[in-house]
């Protein structure tokens, strides 16, 4: 079996290593598919659904997330159809309404063409992308964090909400959190949220970490060094 497969993404013939995801193949080729929960080296979970694409087989198309979809020989992917763009924009709108203070999410919303948020802002901050959970479990093998509760109760928590002794205080969870990546310079107050549209930074560039990060809930359980006084 060849180590590479060839597939078509948005009409372009893309060669990708067998076993890689459609999302990675597209990004490597230079096709931008917005994404939030996906990070290389972490198991994909398909939670944010921003990276949805249409897979066309025998003339029928199926919508699925590209991060959890493995490349296959001859696969036909449409990542920017009208249907996809509309749904993706709506998802980005939902996300930014949940966490208007996250610069990473603001950027995504902007890229997806969100100009107006029709849902009331919620200031939940955490959008359950699970980067922290997976980094803790998979990279550090610490298993200090997890998704707890289901449905609307789901949140990221420590066991019994207490920091376990096996937590290594590596702060990887905070470094990877979309609330803390290049934080928005001025956290918005409740009732004053708006999309300013000024930022356009890349999502995963964690440079220029500022001392005063936004008020994320993670820090509370951790004695986070960056926790605001």
């Amino acid at each position: 079996m060849s180590e590479y497969v060839t597939l078509t993404i948005n009409g372009a013939k893309v060669k990708a290593p067998r076993g890689s995801s459609v999302l990675d193949a597209a990004l490597d080729y230079g096709i931008c598919i917005p994404h939030l929960c996906h990070m290389r080296d972490l198991t994909p979970i398909g939670a944010c659904r921003l990276c949805i694409v249409e897979v066309v087989t025998n003339g029928k198309s199926k919508v699925t997330a590209s991060c959890t979809l493995d490349v296959q020989e001859g696969m036909v992917i449409l990542a920017h159809t009208e249907k996809i763009l509309k749904a993706r924009k709506n998802i980005a709108e939902m996300l930014v309404a949940q966490a208007p203070n996250s610069r990473a999410i603001q950027d995504i919303a902007l890229k997806c063409g969100v100009k107006q948020v029709r849902y009331p802002f919620r200031n939940d901050n955490c959008v359950l992308c699970g980067r922290c959970v997976r980094a803790c479990t998979e990279i550090w093998q610490s298993k200090s964090l997890g998704f707890v509760g289901r449905g609307k109760e789901r949140h990221v928590a420590l066991p019994f909400d207490k920091r376990p002794e096996f937590c290594k205080r590596c702060n990887a969870c905070i470094d990877l959190c979309p609330m803390t990546i290049t934080p928005c310079p001025g956290p918005m107050k409740k009732g004053e949220e708006a999309l300013c549209g000024l930022c356009e930074s890349q999502l995963s560039m964690a440079q220029d970490m500022q001392d005063s990060c936004v008020d994320c809930r993670l820090g509370e359980g951790f004695d986070c060094v960056r926790k605001k006084p």
């Binding site: 707890v148 509760g149 066991p159 019994f160």
Partner: protein, 158 residues
């Protein structure tokens, strides 16, 4: 109050190291202790070789489990579709209003816990309320008030 652990030993017997049994073990603990005490769960995590966070997650995910002790009396209001169209939300409001709790909570005096269930499959008898395992069929708001008062009254007499 220290928690008796001999019941736990019985539950865990022969299951050490088998992470697959987690849900079944928690079911048994819930049955025997009526809730999932933290110290018990810590032991379960160790004995079944399941990370503590997994145990915590499972305990929080499934409706059958509670992390706080339940009240002496359990009122379960069926919220299935058939009961809903026959007026179940009104009864739930009534129970909650009377006992001043939210679904899943226990009254301050520890007498009642109110829970909802998404269908018991006894739709012909709806609207249905289960009081301590007894099915009370064709409920009305007035009947429910009386029922709660009776249980309350009995408790006071004792």
């Amino acid at each position: 109050m220290a928690i008796a652990l001999n019941k736990l030993d019985k539950i865990l017997k022969g299951r050490e190291g088998s992470s697959f049994e987690l849900i079944e073990v928690l079911q048994d603990i819930q049955r025997d202790y009526r809730y999932l005490p933290e110290e018990v769960l810590r032991i379960v995590s160790e004995k079944l070789s399941v990370p503590l966070i997994e145990v915590f997650k499972v305990a929080n995910f499934y409706k059958a489990f509670t992390l706080k002790p339940r009240g002496k009396h359990l009122i379960t209001v069926c919220m299935g579709t058939a009961c809903h169209v026959r007026g179940a939300p009104k009864f739930l409001d009534e129970v909650l209003g009377q006992l001043k709790v939210k679904p899943g909570e226990t009254t301050e005096d520890g007498e009642f816990t109110v829970e909802t269930v998404n269908c018991l499959g006894a739709c012909a008898l709806g609207p249905l309320v289960v009081l301590d395992g007894k099915y009370c069929d064709h409920m009305t708001t007035a009947k429910l008030r009386v029922l709660i008062q009776e249980v309350r009254g009995n408790a006071k007499k004792k």
